[in-house]
């Protein structure tokens, strides 16, 4: 991802799962501050409710689509009994994206892409408009993450599913999360290579908001673009993590101002607070400002003051 393309990218800081068999929760989810809403047909829907949920989600998108949200549907697994019917209905509902669980091979993505294209053609819908989010939820998915991320032009994001991944690894899921550290990095790098959004694993203890904040420190430091939420109470905390802070915005503006001044004065080297402003700094500053603009937090009146103190661990 580069700063220029980021300007037009839809914010994907938060996506909230909402069970496809609960109309009340589906309606309510549209009013929270999440960037993306994920109507779920998979794990949160019992086997007996699969048909009803599919119809409800179809109707919800068709007739009650929440305004200003990126709408996603998580369909049932590729090899499930419901997958084909899910695609038939959901492609016709035209969400922004379909989220495919437990992707392990690039060939799976290609076959889904083809199937969606066929349904789009049958339904007379625009071809290729529906995007794909791929959930990487096993060691095999992690091993093949680079190929998966590049398997289809429809893919706009890839996410790590930590619970299933750790189960496949025979690892224990812990709050510090070192058991998913490698997988996080693999998924993230695959996303960066493919130029798609990198979505972090959910934090499943919905009553531990302090634990979520601690988990987000690693998520943000690694460079993820967003995180899936399993409870609405997590949304504002995750949004706050992925929204540039006032300090970050001020620093980014100072970097851009310093570069502009250097360009005006035709000096080859730009220095700010004793540090050389190099290309990575410029890129980071532009991305921060683009994210801040998208989140609506750039204030015109921000006072650009003198040198700032660095955070304790900041280089």
């Amino acid at each position: 991802m580069n700063a220029d393309t980021f300007n037009d990218v839809q914010l994907m800081r938060t996506s909230i799962y909402t069970g496809g068999s609960s109309p009340a929760k589906m309606i309510q989810a549209g009013f929270y501050n999440e960037d993306c809403i994920v109507y779920d047909l998979e794990d949160s829907v019992s086997k007996l409710d699969k048909d009803a949920a599919r119809f409800l989600v179809y109707c919800a998108i068709k007739y009650q689509r929440p305004a200003n949200k990126y709408v996603i549907v998580r369909v049932n697994g590729l090899y499930s009994d419901e997958f084909e019917e899910d695609l038939q209905a959901i492609v016709r509902a035209k969400p922004d994206a379909i989220r495919i669980p437990k992707v392990e091979y690039a060939s799976e993505v290609r076959s889904v892409d083809q199937r969606i294209t066929q349904i789009e053609m049958e339904a007379g819908a625009p071809i290729g408009k529906i995007q794909l989010w791929c959930n990487i939820e096993s060691y095999m998915g992690v091993i093949n993450a680079r190929e998966i991320a590049k398997a289809s032009p429809r893919i706009s994001a890839m996410a790590l599913g930590a619970e299933d991944f750790t189960a496949s690894m025979m690892a224990k899921r812990t709050k510090p999360g070192w058991e998913i550290f490698y997988a996080r990095n693999v998924v993230l790098m695959a996303c960066r290579e493919a130029g798609i959004s990198a979505q972090d694993a959910v934090y499943s203890d919905i009553n531990d908001l302090e634990g979520l904040k601690a988990d987000l420190e690693m998520t943000k430091a690694l460079g993820f673009d967003g995180k899936t939420c399993v409870h609405p109470n997590q949304i504002d905390i995750v949004n706050a993590c992925f929204t540039p802070s006032k300090k970050e915005i001020i620093k980014a503006e100072r970097v851009c101002n310093a570069l502009a001044k250097a360009a005006e004065e035709h000096t080859g080297v730009c220095v700010l607070d004793g540090d050389m402003v190099d290309k990575p700094m410029e890129l980071r500053a532009k991305i921060i400002l683009a994210k801040a603009r998208a989140a609506g937090v750039v204030e015109k009146s921000i006072q650009v003051t003198g040198p700032q103190k660095k955070d304790k661990d900041e280089l």
């Binding site: 009340a24 309606i27 309510q28 009013f31 929270y32 009650q64 409870h231 609405p232 109470n233 504002d236």
Partner: protein, 518 residues
């Protein structure tokens, strides 16, 4: 005739003369002496007040057919007193009484409905009726309509002589044999007795009933001996579990938390949110969460509040303990933490309901309140609020202090989800107007915040809210979203008979509730 809200009203309902609502601050002040039914006494040193049982107390009080009796509602759903007293009255053959409790009472065992059917009670004046009693009234159980009044209006009608209480039965969780009593301590402590002061001061006869008789003098004292005629000891006055089981719990409902946080943002955006601000949040799930967020925002702003008012919960006591609140003016304790706090903290005070909510005194706390947070069943596009009748047409709640807080607070905020279950909460016209729209400054929902252009502080509030970048929308916008999600519910057919008269603070009529068609 039509009142200022546009509700069609008859001139008279039986012998009740209808005074149409004209506006929240329109009624003339009462330039006359306070009317009290209280009798002077002359008790000699050797005379006693303690009587063996309730029946004896009823006989001694002189209660007769057609008189008016009162109770407080501080035992809430756990009340075990009203049933005992009404049973004793029935056994004595006294009939045709006016039942005038301080608020909604919904006792089940025995049900009040039984006492209506057998003629013990034939008139009711309260702040709300619900449950079995509400259902019976809507089926036409009483010949005369029930008069529903907000908390602030009840002391007014008592002091104006419109409601003459003959015998006030005051349940107390601790009392001595001379009538000094309190709700603050004892095995069935209910907390502040704020709603009983006016009854004690003005009823012709006052009977204190307790299940915890202590040696003289009772300490502490909420209502003192000089107002009390008789004392009775009974086995139980209430079910502690239902009175106040621990602290009112903070909701985990994400929608309620979301609305509460937005409400706290509205408050924090106000220029009035500064050192010494005052507030009232109430006891609903959203209200308790608002208090939690206010706690955080008060701390972040490094300010303190001067007072919190009305019905008090443990979350407000937490603010006091954190040094964020100078005084807690408590007319009712909503949980046992709040009840206990009055005993243990010098700044947590038990106050008379009249001092809190009655607009016709020489000045009460509401006149000094900045922020009032209210719940509601429905709000309409004129900002009128319904807190009485639910989506099925049945009685769901009481007026409580809602109309008083709405009119009194400088910034009155209704917190409400835009839909509940399958019905919309933001509608074109509410079923029953309980709080006039012009007294509501803001409606906070999960779908946005609507400010009321007709509110007296609109210019200030809108400027502050816009500056803070809050998600402001029109009330019509909210109504349309709700309607799009639920459709328009069918009209609930009503009969011609009037079941309840909804009075405003000044005694004018806001609305009428009709019996439901069978």
């Amino acid at each position: 005739m039509k009142n200022a809200i546009g509700r069609e009203l008859p001139d008279k309902i039986g012998d009740y003369i209808v005074m149409p609502y004209k506006g929240p601050y329109e009624a003339q002040m009462y330039q006359r002496s306070v009317a009290s039914n209280r009798r002077m006494g002359h008790l000699l040193a050797n005379e006693q007040k303690l009587l063996p049982d309730i029946k004896t107390a009823i006989l001694e009080s002189g209660l007769e057919d057609g008189m008016t009796i009162s109770f407080h509602h501080c035992f809430r759903e756990g009340d075990r007193l009203i049933g005992q007293v009404l049973n004793a009255i029935r056994e004595l053959g006294i009939r045709h009484l006016k039942f005038a409790p301080s608020a909604v009472v919904n006792i089940k065992n025995p049900s009040i409905v039984q006492f209506i059917h057998d003629g013990t009670i034939d008139r009711i004046e309260a702040s709300g009726i619900r449950g079995e009693l509400g259902d019976a009234i809507l089926k036409g159980a009483l010949d005369k309509p029930v008069i529903l009044r907000p908390h602030g209006a009840r002391p007014r009608v008592i002091e104006s002589g419109e409601l003459n209480i003959d015998v006030a039965f005051i349940g107390a969780s601790q009392a001595d044999d001379y009538g000094n009593c309190t709700g603050l301590v004892g095995p069935n402590a209910c907390g502040a007795l704020g709603y009983s002061f006016i009854d004690a001061f003005n009823a012709k006869r006052v009977v204190v009933i307790t299940d915890n008789l202590v040696p003289y003098p009772c300490v502490p004292v909420s209502i003192s001996q000089q107002y009390v005629d008789f004392v009775v000891k009974v086995d139980t006055i209430g079910d502690t579990e239902k009175i106040s089981a621990g602290a009112a719990r903070l909701t985990n409902n994400p929608r309620d938390l979301y609305i509460a946080e937005r409400c706290a943002e509205v408050i924090a955006s106000s220029r009035r949110f500064k050192e010494g601000y005052s507030f009232q949040t109430g006891a609903g799930a959203i209200s308790i969460a608002v208090t939690k967020y206010l706690h955080q925002k008060t701390q972040e702003r490094n300010i303190y509040a001067s007072f919190a008012l009305g019905g008090i919960t443990g979350t407000i006591i937490d603010m006091y303990d954190a040094g964020l609140l100078k005084a807690v003016e408590c007319s009712q304790s909503f949980d046992s933490i709040a009840a206990k706090a009055i005993m243990e903290r010098p700044g947590v005070l038990e106050i008379d309901n009249s001092n809190y909510s009655n607009p016709y005194t020489k000045g009460g706390f509401l006149n000094r309140e900045d922020f009032g947070v209210l719940g509601a069943l429905e709000v309409d596009t004129d900002f009128n609020v319904n807190v009485l009748t639910g989506s099925t047409g049945h009685m769901m709640g009481g007026l409580g202090g809602g109309p008083d807080v709405a009119a009194g607070a400088q910034l009155s905020i209704v917190t409400i989800p835009i839909i509940r279950g399958r019905t919309p909460s933001i509608v074109k016209k509410v079923r029953t107007v309980c709080e006039p729209g012009e007294t509501i400054a803001a409606v906070v929902t999960e779908a946005g915040i609507a400010l009321n252009p007709r509110h007296r502080n609109y210019a200030e509030i809108s400027e502050d809210a816009e500056r803070a970048g809050l998600n402001l929308v029109s009330i019509e916008h909210l109504q349309k979203i709700a309607e799009r999600l639920t459709g328009i519910p069918k009209h609930i057919p009503t009969a011609e008979r009037i079941a309840c008269i909804v009075e405003y603070r000044d005694g004018s009529v806001l609305d009428l509730i009709y019996c439901l068609k069978p």
